[in-house]
Amino acid sequence: MNKHWIMVFVAAFFEVLWVIGLKHAGDALTWTGTAIAIFISFYLLIRSGRYIPVGTVYAVFVGLGTAGTFFSEILFFDQPFVWAKFFFVVFLLAGVVGLKLVTKDQPSEGAEA
């Protein structure tokens, strides 16, 4: 596990936070937190795109965000556990692991700028 992939995972974590925020935020404090989470997740998404192909980064970002939203709705918002959804999440995570295994780091293209 290298730090560029960790950046993608942290970006997806903050994506889950702002998706929850968009749905549940109700006052100045929670909206500010939501805005900060959007900023952090996109900042990390763009940074990781320097080292990992952007097509891969974006697919993993939306996929993990969706999977994370599924788990947080069950854990924190009393949504029922649905086996069909769980199957998709496992299939999705298998795809993410596969992508990580077949992706070679590329040198930073923006390094000389």
């Binding site: 097509g55 891969t56 974006y58 996929g63 596969g98 077949v102 293209e109």
Partner: protein, 104 residues
């Protein structure tokens, strides 16, 4: 009309994903502004589409167009790997994401 809005939203999302590559190549305010404008326009048209389409359907189609289109643009415009294993795994992640959003 809602479907037209949704497709436009997906195209702006593809554009936004392509601009992530562009920002990393040319670090200037124009590419950052295009990136923010692309995702901004995309969210706006997604919101228009959701006024008449079910949220799960709209979200699933939007994600699918943006992520698949973004990966294809990456391969053809930015020289990303066209390795079949990469394509298979991206397709896995995408189909599972779209499936999850459709049944949510």
């Amino acid at each position: 009309m809602a479907w037209t809005f949704l497709i436009i939203a997906g195209l702006f999302e593809m554009f936004g994903v392509a601009m992530i590559s562009q920002v990393n190549k040319k670090r200037n305010w124009v590419s950052v502004a295009l990136l923010i404008g692309g995702f901004g326009a995309s969210f706006l048209f997604l919101a228009f589409a959701m006024e008449s389409l079910p949220m799960g359907t709209a979200y699933a189609v939007w994600t699918g167009i943006g992520a698949a289109g973004g990966a294809l643009l990456g391969m053809f415009l930015f020289g990303e790997s066209k390795d079949w294993k990469r394509i298979v795994f991206i397709a896995m992640v995408l189909s599972a994401t779209v499936g999850l959003k459709l049944i949510s």
